[in-house]
Symmetry: C2
Subunit: 140 residues, 2 copies
DNA sequence: GGGGCTTATAGTAATAGTTCCTATTATTAT
DNA sequence: ATAATAATAGGAACTATTACTATAAGCCCC
């Protein structure tokens, strides 16, 4: 197994990626740290951060998140898709892109002249089903 | 002038909003701080942060930015539109939504069942025209 | 399958953007 | 004007992330 582009296959890197792939919950760096620590108790948080950044840079995973949440979240699936962010619990869910969205994600937008698109991102903010059920709502 | 929803009209708040509206550059909190300080030399950075958050919460301005940039940026225009984020210089430009995008922004997405959408966000990451011209490129 | 080059790691310190705290001041309703 | 209440300045605290450095581990070639 070679990770690509001269990334060495270290035990830390392998287990980090394994753990990330176990979940669709888009965990934060420290959640990933906690998970990996169960197998590698001596791993450093800095190693987790370094590798998450590196793997995202190489396109093997993706960084997700919004401007409002302080912490970054990661998605094991590097393929373009949309995310729904709960403004209450911070949870992130995958959204299956419709054909129209897929067209957008591939970059067919007029007003973008001269801006070279590397990635398009569509995010929805709102309440996830759980929070929706328990949030106090205005009745107006 | 009343700001809405029991927000008091303080000198700080008024000038902050004025300054923000002077620019389409989507400034950061500290850039706004610097601009406001020219008129209000004794304003506190905490005041700037507090008000930016408050105004965004009330829907009078909007928070923009991506998970990769550490600092938040703000847009005086609260109406839904898209943004192009330069991955090199961090600059943000407004993108005029096409009709199809507008449909998305209004919330017509299938797979979102049970997730209550408060806002949709479409962001493009890439190189702005300036950076595009000066970034060293691979010729492959 | 061992030597040596090179990259990665652990552990910790440092950074930076943001938020919190509290005594004081300003705004608004009356 | 006065009283009630919300907002501010200034600085301390917080926290996610990044930087640093001596040590350890992959990997390539023989």
């Amino acid at each position: 197994m070679k990770l690509e582009n001269s990334l060495r296959v270290t035990r830390q890197r392998r287990i980090l990626l394994e753990q990330l792939k176990l979940s669709d919950a888009h965990p934060t760096a420290s959640e990933i740290f906690d998970a990996v620590r169960k197998e590698l108790p001596r791993i450093s948080l800095a190693t987790v951060y370094r590798n998450l950044e590196l793997l995202a840079e190489k396109g093997l995973i993706q960084l997700v998140g919004t401007a409002e949440s302080r912490q970054k979240r990661f998605d094991w699936n590097p393929r373009p898709h949309c995310h729904a962010h709960c403004v209450r619990c911070g949870g992130v869910a995958d959204i299956e892109p419709s054909p129209e969205i897929n067209a957008l994600l591939r970059g067919s937008v007029d007003s973008l002249r001269d801006f070279e698109v590397l990635a398009a991102r569509i995010d929805f903010l709102g309440y996830c089903p759980q929070c929706r059920a328990t949030v106090p709502r205005c009745s107006e």
